[in-house]
Subunit: 412 residues, 4 copies
């Protein structure tokens, strides 16, 4: 089983930690799924192991994994045991990848002020003080066009709006919130909002087909007062800009690991099942029946493609970061990278859905029972296509625009 | 919307009744799904309307629908509102199709004794006295090779064994149980077992991905005493025989209606959704976005194939029954019919799964919420491939054997 | 083998004629394919048998087949032997379906003048005097927007333009040419142009992947003088109008038969091949190898869907014509019909391509040799998606627009 | 366009040479395809450039490319211009990969005799003296079970049998022929047969759907006298053995490059086409039409998977060879590698066929003309699934057996 392997030393440590967590978290995954209860104890464990500080530099208390490839591999290992925790960890870790890169650059170039600011941002991610949740999605609009608004006030800003699919919301101490800052033209903003800010309401309405333990509730913000320094702006509202491209390229690829891990878990389960089950009256092992072999082979084929594609694109992303300082960042190159991620995203998620489905078929009915892990994996894996920024139906246009050298902006 | 239409007058009546039930049953479908509670009130309603006696001759209190096509269409209408009730009704009605055909033949040929016996069997199905459940599936063996055993005794038989996936088991008064009758060679048998027979245990263990309200529990039989007259034999154990072919061809095709109905419900839901939803900032109707149109078109394409194929094969089955008396039944022709059903089965179920999946994608995340009907339909439709007699992986061999004029028996 | 059967007496006669032609034409099909030579002798034979006058009323010398279903079935039979002749026949016969319907209506309602005009049009199609070719496609524009222009003159019109894919052009005596008639707004026109009209040039440039014997050359028209009576107008240029909808619904569905026939020929070939071939060292019949059985089964599944869908939509079209006089024609209903045809078109052509491909795989390399019929079928079947009016990529939009009750016009 | 890049210096040189050849060979590719004529001049050019000696050690006159990855990348570049030459080059180069590895090992370990023997074998491959063809396939048997027989004689052997699909046969000076050496049990053998050996007949019967210029004729051997030293034996006839596994793992993966290159050529062609074509009346660029964008996106998605999967498995193979001396070769590990190759094989070839097909659809009919490169690519790419050792229908069983830790031998 030629699974993906970390390519850095720090990554190796991280993957081992993730594998251990996976074993532990697998025990309660079904129960949390059934109840829709958030696995608080897993967050605690991932704080203790240091996994949540994976991408934070060691000087700031983290593990110092600077490879998107290795982060994605670690998330895939975690997801084999519990996809919920893989999502929770991704949402937290992903916030630190770019900041860590910029901190390293600031230190390298002797820009102490920037370094200090970034250190202040990064340290709590590794210390276990906070778990962060991303409040990005809004119903009925596009992620580049948030309608949640940060209005300037004398003291800073006031934030008002309503977000959905906020994974980790039951316990997150901090929300990263995308917003619109009024102006002419309006500006795309990102805020760091503490949970106890007046006006923050975490709803208790997450009830879904799968990924049921992620606590991906709605969160609303009602005239929340924010100090100026927690609101960053990233260029014109509704447009891709360099910082957004950077954040998405890294974060999204790490997230993809979760779906690879789900597929690997389904594969493992069904291979073990058919290897021991026999069917009367002939007593032939399922593993020796041609039709079962065909299903197993198609699982292996899909998995081979998913792993290779995730791995190669991750290394391409790593290569980009290794060869570009922040000053050298290029939107054109980042769109090429994001396009390649989007292609990979569809390869991996389609493969993952197909693998779980093939395993379900090979289970001969057993997988349809709630007590069988396949029935949870089947529901969890279907979350894939809904992840930001591009749904399958938007991705086609984006991929084609970049390929055909048209303006990558999609007019929604 | 070129939906399938009944081809007989009795069928027209039946389809209208099913459509009315669908409207009523839709109201509580989500609640029963969530609880896994059996919709007892729907059974009562279907007794009252006469739907459960659909295939019973009018002279015996039924509706007299003798067209498999029209039964399947009615089941598809029912499934639009509630797939559970569609399954429950199919399992009951399917038991009466062949018996009604034989009763009609006995009456036509003046064979009063046979007619009287069949009348005794059929009348309770239409009167509302009983709901029947089929106890056919066993873990780890093949439907032609049941391990549940009916051992001859001085008074009749003693039945011992364990069945799974017994839809309607929470309230069924009667179980149709397939079994093995010892002998040299052993014989394939079918028993009618009353719920209150000593030794019958209906377990409360149905907990599944979808079709959660069907009460498809395990049922075990522990030395249940049976009078001789409730045990029928159908030829050698492990072999297709004429009566089994007849039962399956009719019953399975009616069942297919349930999956067409699920697909039609998903299609209806998503067409209505995209027709009214707009997305900021452009405010374009989802219906006018090319990628949504692509998904809708693929739904229509799949539905066109599913309806046509179900309809044509159903009429081929009807034509067979119209042109053959029971004496003229031919295993070779019945295998051709069953093969055509198996092909149709895969066309319809694959189309149905694809349609629900496309609708889910077009829902843009909304369909992933438990409150959205698509999330139930997505789970329900996945039951399709597990239905008897052939799973997709067994069907290939069967279809090829009949096509290539090899012995249709599959050596499991 | 549950092949489609004609539903009218005239259709039954026609299908038998087509079957006999198929046997004869199969002999030379490979040779014409290789040379790219047009099978003139097949046209003569189809004139003699009366097949080319299939849809012309008996009173006017034809066979009087008024069922689109039966015409499509006959074309499918023809295509089993020779897809080229199936295309040639379709292009000719399709021109007469609506005219025959209008003639029947005119006769019924006592409109003698109209009847006489239509009789003049129809009679030569059945008498063997002419073979007609459709000159519809133009490079770089859309079939509703022909750029070929018919400019009014004192005596009638002058036609100038360039058409491609004109099947039968090597021998056709008459071309049906779509055009633009200038005006404000311009009008969509259709001309009947005799081959010997000054300015007509039939190029000799048809050289293609498949359908190589169809002589689908370019035809150019250079200031061809036309009498006024051979130019008909059909409403605004660039728009669907009732007469265009009528022509397309009938003609296109008949054409679909050709692709079903190709698929049936591939299926027949491979079933016969695997039934007799053995492979050393075990000597097992290919028919008994599980992987071959899987391929054969998928062929049967795809064929079951293709036949049923073609057949059902054809009968829906027949039902429309049976229940509507020309005065009752409704664009809304015709768009519903055309949408259903478009869905069917994709079901049948995808199935046909898939069937030939599966047969190719099952051939184990044999099908890749030029001498094997599969290698011609593989090239011929790929023509399907390019047929008018909608390519697969335009069809999605059209199907969705009709489904979602948007204006069916596509803005190209 | 994130194409695969060589990972060694020698590979970089090779890939540049291949790119130059591709430009040159593209000019005559269509002509050779049409005539079915073998591109002799391309062989000469590839001898001159040194490409045919790519894998031969520099000490023996070759380029010294020891990376299967880089060989495959070079073959893919070549195939962009001319798939025929890519196949011809592969068949030659592939014979030298293992011999070069063993020569390096012999030199390293001071085994001068072995080194000298291998040097004698390898030198002519790089010197331009010979072009080698592989005569492996036989009709009606399996590649591990050749029926061509090498019977021992006093002087050596006599070879008799008939081979098919012998690429390069029109000019090859040397044939590598698999055979059966009688005995108890019989043994699998490989012979090097000079073209001018008495009894060798190269037939002139290659006439195929695609790959028409490869000269893949039948070659028959009629009591050909062979000296003992040109016949090697590899263990029991009908069984996988270490040397066969080694040869196949390397050779087959290089061959896969040809299909990637075909796909890349189709992609390049269609991207360039839609980027400049407009369609009346709107004049919209095809590149801006949503349905075209969908096709282009799916091409990019498939290509992303094909490249990554080919690349990753190639590096896994390279890693194996880098970490194992010939003494350390392990059948179990080699079966794992071959299984991973088989999975990759299906990923790449399916993707390649899909890419060419999508490009064909996006061409809107243009691709169906013989003058359009897509029509050749469409025929060439279909050769993929027929390549040895496993057809798609055999590969399922092999992949599953290795995955499920069953005996990898397939009982044909």
């Amino acid at each position: 089983m030629n699974e993906l392997q970390p390519v850095t030393d720090a990554g190796e440590w991280l993957v081992k930690a993730a594998e251990q967590h996976a074993i532990d978290f697998a025990v309660t995954a079904d129960e949390h799924d059934r109840d829709g209860s958030f696995p608080v104890q897993n967050v605690t464990a991932m704080h203790h192991s240091g996994l949540l500080g994976a991408a934070v530099p060691p000087e700031l208390g983290g593990m110092g994994v600077d490879s998107v490839h290795d982060l994605a591999v670690a998330i895939s290992r975690l997801a084999r045991g519990d996809a919920t925790s893989a999502l929770v960890a991704t949402m937290h870790v992903a916030q630190t990848i770019q900041a860590a890169r910029q901190w390293r650059h600031a230190v390298r170039t002797g820009d102490e002020e920037t370094a200090a600011g970034l250190a202040g941002f990064l340290t709590p991610f590794a210390s276990g003080e906070v778990l962060v949740a991303a409040a990005v999605t809004e119903n009925g609009t596009y992620f580049l066009n948030p309608l949640t608004e940060a209005t300037p006030t004398v003291d800073g800003y006031e934030l008002t709006g309503h977000k959905s699919f906020v994974t980790s919301s039951p316990v997150a101490q901090l929300f990263v919130v995308t917003c619109r800052v009024p102006g002419d033209p309006p500006v795309f903003g990102g805020c760091l909002v503490a949970r106890d800010t007046p006006g923050v309401t975490v709803h208790d309405n997450w009830d879904s087909l799968g990924m049921r333990a992620t606590g991906s509730n709605d969160v609303s913000f009602d005239h929340c007062p924010l100090p100026a320094e927690v609101v960053a702006t990233y260029g014109p509202w509704g447009q891709w800009t360099t910082p957004l491209l950077l954040e998405f390229v890294g974060a999204l690829h790490v997230l993809l690991g979760a779906f690879l891990g789900i597929a690997e878990a389904a594969r493992e389960h069904i291979v073990n099942t058919v290897a021991v089950r026999r069917k009367a009256p002939s007593g032939t092992l399922l593993a020796d029946r041609p039709a079962v072999q065909q299903l197993i082979a198609e699982i292996e084929i899909a998995l081979t493609a998913a792993r290779a594609t995730l791995g190669r694109t991750a290394r391409t992303i790593d290569d980009y970061f290794a060869s570009h300082t922040p000053e050298q960042d290029s939107d054109a190159e980042l769109h090429e990278l994001l396009k390649e991620h989007q292609c990979t995203n569809l390869v991996v998620k389609r493969a993952a859905m197909s693998i779980v489905d093939l395993a379900m078929t090979a289970s001969g009915g057993g997988g349809y029972l709630a007590s069988n892990p396949l029935s949870r994996l089947y529901r969890d894996v279907r979350a894939g296509p809904f992840m930001q920024p591009y749904s399958p139906i938007e991705a086609w246009e984006y991929i084609a625009r970049v390929t055909l050298e048209r303006d990558p902006h999609i007019d929604v």
